[in-house]
């Protein structure tokens, strides 16, 4: 029975992988409907639990399928569901990417590469704005973000020291009852 469920989960993840435009959040509704209402793989409450964990965890939101896979058939389920959600979209981008590589150097391809830059810059700031708005920063958090930004602009410090410092600072602030 578990093998059937696992196969169903994999067959569900492959098409979801190819329509997950803009990352994980777009497929959550469909994943919930399929796993909870249609296939009865897990309860609605359990799905909400897994969703909360995937939001707190690092990595893309689509990682929730690893947890669903674990519910269905343990480590094997988690590994296979994760591959089923990431490999199809990766194959697609390899296909598009290698087509582009073959045609680079042509005038239209050079103009296209340069023309993509302004769009990318706009999207980067849009992403920062959207995340900042949904996070509803306190003044302390805003100050932390600006300070970290200034350090990143002026120095070559990598992610680990900064993340460790911020984690330690907020742990201390929390103990002191300041956040």
């Amino acid at each position: 029975m578990d093998d059937d469920k696992l196969l169903n989960l994999i067959m569900m993840c492959i098409p979801l992988s190819l329509v997950s435009f803009g990352g994980g959040q777009t497929i959550i509704a469909s994943l919930q409907h399929q796993t909870v209402d249609v296939q009865n793989m897990l309860s609605g409450a359990r799905f909400t639990d897994l969703y909360a964990i995937s939001r707190a965890a690092p990595g893309p939101g689509t990682m929730i399928v690893s947890l669903v896979g674990w519910e269905v058939s343990g480590l094997l389920g988690a590994v296979l569901a994760t591959l089923a959600i990431f490999v199809p979209s990766s194959i697609l981008i390899c296909a598009v990417g290698s087509y582009w590589q073959r045609h680079r150097g042509r005038p239209w391809a050079i103009a296209a590469e340069k023309g993509l830059a302004p769009v990318a810059v706009g999207l980067i700031f849009a992403g920062v704005f959207a995340v900042g708005r949904s996070a509803q920063f306190s003044p302390v958090e805003l100050a932390t973000t600006l300070a970290a930004g200034a350090i990143l602009l002026r120095t070559r410090v990598g992610p680990y020291p900064l993340l460790a410092a911020a984690g330690a600072l907020y742990f201390a602030l929390s103990i002191a009852g300041q956040v």
Partner: protein, 195 residues
């Protein structure tokens, strides 16, 4: 008056090995706490390793954002493909998802205990601040490299307004803006070429 668009001009002379790619992306995959993956990827691939120029990175990033799939994973796979072919793409994918996969399993076991501690929530907020700062910094650095002309700057501002402030869906906006931006670039280059 034209400044060179790319300050990070140095491109890898030697081919990048699959092992180097795997190491870099395992590091990146493990630093995805708090988000800001694109910023960290830029810092590692363009600034630290100098495997790609800024304009190559931006082109890769835009395509990674339009295509289906998690954006940081797409970006990693495409960079891996560019630098070391299909094996590079596979190494980048593995490096990117392995740490997050182990972390989410560990977190799901620890979740019931972690949830009750406010300190854990506070630490996650602190990490998120650094993550956002990393994306913001990359936005500033790449915006500086745009041609100082009303067209590219206006297009960047327009995309930001539509997607960020007005919350229009990303894919249609990007698909509409790209032809406009490419045509504008083509026109600007030709005008500069003549004189």
């Amino acid at each position: 008056m034209d400044k060179p668009v790319d300050k990070n001009e140095a491109v890898a002379v030697q081919p990048v090995t699959v092992l180097e790619l795997l190491t870099s992306f395992l590091r990146l995959g493990a630093s995805s706490f708090g988000g800001g993956m694109t910023g960290w990827t830029h810092r590692e691939i363009v600034e630290r390793r100098r495997w790609l120029t800024d304009s190559e990175f931006l082109q890769t990033l835009t395509i990674a954002q339009i295509m289906p799939g998690a954006n940081p994973v797409n970006l990693a796979v495409y960079i891996g493909l560019k630098l070391a072919g299909l094996r590079g793409a596979a190494a980048a994918l593995l490096g990117m998802i392995m740490p997050a996969f182990l972390a989410i399993l560990a977190l799901s076991f620890a979740y019931q205990q972690l949830r009750s501690y406010p300190e854990a929530q506070a630490v996650l907020r602190g990490l998120a601040c650094v993550g956002i700062a990393s994306s913001l910094t990359m936005g500033i650095k790449t915006a500086r490299r745009l041609k100082a002309h009303v067209l590219p700057v206006g297009i960047a501002a327009g995309v930001f307004l539509l997607v960020g402030v007005l919350r229009w869906p990303l894919v249609p906006v990007a698909l509409g803006a790209i032809p406009v931006s490419v045509a504008a670039t083509f026109w600007l280059e030709r005008k500069n070429g003549r004189g």
